[in-house]
Symmetry: C2
Subunit: 151 residues, 2 copies
């Protein structure tokens, strides 16, 4: 459903929400290792996310990426929109352009309600809230892949 890029983006931003701050910046090398994502690809992606004001960065020694206040008030939906656009997410499961509640395809009501709920979830919660939730639920619910690795 999401592109690799969007998946990487969401995971990176949640990672930065958990572990970075304006004074504790994180280099792409470390992020890519912890998230098991190709480093050059991630670098370019974070660059894009920077342009969309979803992450912050600074160059030079002790530079790297982090999230500021503004960044933390974005949503997962913002990330998806920036990286993949809305089209793929909203499109009919069978690819019919005319599909809607009034004019549904044969699987519309099997699929559509769920997509609405997921979308609402992703729109309604900020990155900050999301990361609080991850912390609260502990390691079981956390980004296991890199939580374990992070020191």
């Amino acid at each position: 459903m999401l592109s690799n890029a969007a998946q990487y983006a969401i995971r990176s931003i949640l990672y930065l929400a958990l572990y970075s701050s304006a004074t504790q910046r994180i280099r792409t090398k470390k992020i890519s290792q912890d998230l098991e994502v190709p480093q050059p690809f991630l670098a370019k992606l974070l660059q894009r996310l920077g342009g969309a004001d979803l992450v912050s960065s600074s160059k030079g020694p002790n530079g790297g990426f982090y999230l500021n206040k503004t960044n933390r008030n974005k949503t997962v939906w913002d990330i998806i929109v920036t990286v993949d656009g809305t089209e793929k997410f909203n499109q009919c499961f069978l690819g019919l352009h005319t599909c809607s509640d009034n004019n549904p395809c044969p699987v519309h009501f099997n699929v559509s309600p769920f997509k609405q709920i997921i979308k609402k979830d992703f729109k309604g919660k900020t990155i900050a809230q999301f990361s609080e939730e991850i912390k609260k639920r502990g390691t079981v619910l956390s980004l296991k892949d890199f939580d374990a690795l992070h020191k």
Copy 2:
């Protein structure tokens, strides 16, 4: 979520379920026009579906594609598996290979239950049952795009 090919495949097979029989075969040209799908692409796709025993065909004048008894007892899930494989469908929303109920990613419980329900729906109903349902619900619920076009 599904590839174009899988979407075309599902729509084509439901179309054949509604309008074809062993004596009433349908040519790729007609199918592609009614479904608004590129004809050569569809031809190749139907060829593959034939190999997987999801559709039947015969060559020559008055030839074309149709569904036999066996074909009609397949499920939408069978189509998805044949065309796209199971991987994409079962994979974690954020792309984590370790993600599971025991070891969930941050969005696992937002997404996973829905996928299970959808999958169960698609596994549990035969093409024959599906097409009955489409007929029963009338044109409103039907494959509008081609239902309107089909004479």
